[in-house]
């Protein structure tokens, strides 16, 4: 809303903003970016932090810097596929981030394995100082158990579970993000949680399965 007391004639605009300008929705910004690419940068400003944080939790900050940047470059390139009916671009961006992440499956599994095997006091090439600091912040035992449990999930189940738990997406949003039926989301989530329950119920902290190659 603008409140202009001054004159506005002869092409002259003089005035002042005295109230916050209502920001356009993601759909409006992305639609606008089709003709005015600069508009997409506002989508970046709005969602970069949450996408980066999600990726950092999955593969560590070092890789997240690159992957988050890559996510938005891809999103910009693919902005024509964004559904104008969507209330927020966040699920769509999470979907892109998840797909970008698939090239990093080994990195993720190695990191989870390292946390599970070595615990917060562990060291190694795969766990840098930042990761060790983060691991110390988590309860040591829980962190190791959860890392081990996550490492046991197949990548599809892990994607759905972490989009739900960390991305805070609903089942329908996850379905939209991954372009899969909502029923598939529900079944993958149920299987993931069942596996988690079984693994976490075991009091003994055991090393996770050795990283396996995942075929897609």
């Amino acid at each position: 809303m603008r409140n202009v007391f001054g004159s506005a004639d002869n092409g002259v605009v003089v005035g002042a903003d005295i109230a916050p300008v209502r920001e356009p929705s993601d759909a409006v910004l992305i639609a606008r970016s089709l003709a005015e690419p600069d508009a997409f940068s506002a989508v970046f400003d709005r969602h970069f932090a949450v996408i980066h944080r999600y990726l950092a939790r999955r593969v560590g900050k070092g890789r997240a810097d690159d992957l988050a940047a890559q996510t938005f470059v891809v999103a910009f390139d693919r902005r024509g596929t964004f559904s104008a009916a969507a209330a927020s671009a966040r699920p769509w961006l999470f979907g892109i981030a998840t797909n970008v992440l698939r090239n990093e499956l080994r990195s993720e599994r190695r990191m989870l394995a390292a946390i599970a095997r070595l615990g917060p006091a562990g060291s190694g090439d795969l766990v840098d100082e930042v990761e060790r600091t983060l691991a110390r912040a988590d309860a040591a035992e829980d962190a190791a158990r959860v890392a081990g449990a996550l490492a046991r999930l197949d990548s599809d189940q892990r994607d759905v579970l972490l989009l739900h738990a960390w991305g805070e997406l609903s089942n329908q949003e996850i379905a939209d993000a991954l372009i899969i039926p909502a029923g598939t989301v529900r079944s993958r989530l149920a299987r993931a949680r069942a596996t988690l329950q079984r693994t976490l119920a075991d009091d003994s902290v055991e090393a996770p399965c050795p990283p396996r190659e995942e075929s897609r």
Binding site: N3, V4, F5, G6, S7, D9, G11, V12, V13, V14, G15, A16, D17, I18, P20, E23, L34, P37, D38, F40, S41, A42, F44, D45, H47, F48, A49, H52, R53, A56, R57, K61, A64, D65, A68, A69, Q70, F72, V73, V74, F76, D77, R78, G80, T81, I96, N99, V100, L134, A137, D138, A139, A143, V146, A147, A165, W166, E168, R193, L200
Partner: protein, 511 residues
């Protein structure tokens, strides 16, 4: 039963938000992609694009080429002064460089107001409006904008901690001190051209510190100061301050408003004024050619009322009367019949306050009013009777005294079509918290945010977070009490919980 989801949510939850370099690098890569873009993209919905070699090749090329060139790609420029000439338009076309511009910043005068008005002049055209002031909740206060459709400027007031302002993903403006700016504040004046000017105000501003990192958002805002308004033929309302015009001197009070009590605002940044009283006077003598209105106001230090007020920005001493300061510009939004542009503004110190008059047609009229008005004693005592619910309200709240907790007001109103049973405002530490009680099931009152989390150890109490991307510390905490919901906004999450635990809700007319 193991809560597997909760364990997963907690796992690696301490991962921090991206730092400045990560942000800058990613933005640089995106801007490069935007720069090389040609024509609108074509949807390829069915193709599993992330498997394409083209994507991988492009992505790697961008990443390799990106490097650490963020600083070179993201432009920054030093703020223009509040008054000056526009730089030449390098793109040619319509330029306003020759006409120059002037931005005059003056204090708000309406009682209870804390903030600044600006009068802008570009090429013989003028305009003005009033806005807020930098505070802990937002260290950037939007100012005005002006110019031609092809080029113009936008300006902001910032706290002294703000070294630069980033506008959307675009330019970064390095703030500057300016003799026309209020004490302790800086300005950011940026010249915008073409589309950037036409889209001014569209993108969010980010305050950056001297290291180039965003300044953390603090969940804080200012409470409305409690005022009483009046209009002739009513007599002036009685409040914490008073102004008196001697009889038979041609000053007829028309309308005004006054603070009921002076409540300091600890969240303010810089040296800011709080208007304690404003009164519009009609000059019935010595004003040829019809009705002349002058507005008088008494300004206190908003953070520490009763202490000496800071210098008035952008004013000069009047030759022959050095106690009086004058500015050719002045605007005030006061009571209904006197709002708008009022021309000049003059002021003199009265004790630890400023007596300010605006309007009239000449400086002599304003000096005359300044000399004739009498300022009564200022009541700086906190309200002796704490705020209470309005008569007939269905709800009221009481609270146990806590150190650093001050209640400001209790009101009832309607929000989003639903009656608010009671809403109370508090200052806790240096932040404003509001407690709102609404009837009905809690589910209907939940804000649209992330899923609520039950607060352990506090029955029927939940918390949720708003958009964490923009506001990492913005939470709402609420408690379901029977068929009502008590929600607290503002402050930190722990402060919200403390206040909820401290409040007792009274239902006067339970349904």
């Amino acid at each position: 039963m193991i809560d597997d989801l909760e364990l997963v949510r907690r796992f690696r939850s301490e991962v921090p938000n991206p730092d400045g370099p990560a942000w800058a690098k990613a933005r640089t890569l995106l801007l490069r992609a935007i720069d090389v873009h040609e024509g609108p993209p074509q949807p390829r919905r069915q193709r599993r694009w992330w498997h394409s070699r083209r994507f991988l090749a492009c992505g790697l090329a961008v990443l390799i080429g990106g490097g650490s060139a963020a600083a070179a790609v993201i432009s920054s420029e030093r703020s223009q002064p509040l008054s000056g000439q526009f730089p030449a338009n390098p793109g040619g076309g319509q330029s306003i460089g020759r006409s120059g511009y002037t931005i005059s910043v003056t204090p708000q005068l309406q009682a209870g107001s804390i903030g600044w008005c600006d009068q802008v002049a570009v090429g013989g055209h003028t305009g003005a409006s009033c806005a807020g002031t930098p505070a802990l909740g937002d260290p950037i206060a939007d100012g005005g904008s002006g110019g031609f459709s092809s080029q113009g400027y936008e300006y902001m007031l910032t706290s002294s901690q703000v070294a630069a302002v980033r506008i959307g993903s675009g330019p970064i403006v390095l703030t500057r001190r300016d003799p026309g700016a209020p004490a302790g504040l800086r300005v950011a004046v940026i010249v915008l051209r073409g589309k950037a000017f036409r889209q001014r105000g569209l993108y969010p501003r980010t305050a950056l510190n001297a290291s180039g990192h965003p300044i953390a958002f603090l969940n804080s805002s200012s409470a409305p100061e409690p005022t009483l308004s009046w209009k002739s033929p009513m007599g002036p309302a009685r409040g914490a301050c008073s102004l008196r015009a001697p009889e038979n001197r041609g000053l007829r009070p028309l309308s005004g408003s006054v603070l009921q009590a002076v409540v300091p605002d600890p969240a303010l940044l810089g040296h800011v004024f709080l208007s304690c009283i404003d009164t519009a006077y009609e000059l019935s003598a010595g004003s040829p050619g019809g009705r002349t209105v002058i507005v008088a106001a008494l300004l206190l230090d908003a953070k520490h009322p009763g202490t000496p007020v800071a210098p008035m920005p952008g004013m000069q001493r009047v030759a022959g009367d050095p106690a009086v300061l004058n500015s050719v510009s002045g605007l005030t939004a006061t009571v209904d019949d006197t709002s708008g542009e009022l021309g000049g503004l003059s002021a003199r110190r009265v004790g630890n306050a400023w007596l300010v008059v605006a309007g009239g047609t000449t400086l002599q009229q304003r000096i005359r009013v300044l000399n004739e008005l009498r300022v009564g004693s200022i009541d700086l005592r906190p309200p002796t009777v704490p705020p209470s619910a309005p008569a007939g309200a269905n709800c009221s709240i009481t609270f146990r005294p806590l150190p650093a907790l001050t209640e400001v007001s209790q009101t009832t109103h309607t929000a989003n079509g639903q009656p608010v049973c009671i809403q109370a405002s508090f200052y806790y530490q240096h932040r404003l918290l509001t407690a709102t009680v609404v009837a009905g099931p809690a589910r209907a009152q939940r804000p649209a945010a992330s899923p609520p989390h039950a607060v352990s150890g506090h029955p029927h109490t939940f918390t949720t977070r708003f958009d964490p991307t923009r506001y990492p510390d913005l939470y709402t905490t609420w408690r379901e009490i029977g068929k009502t919901t008590l929600a607290v906004n503002g402050g930190t999450r722990s402060e919200q919980l403390t206040l909820i635990d401290d409040i007792t809700l009274h239902l006067n007319n339970p349904q």
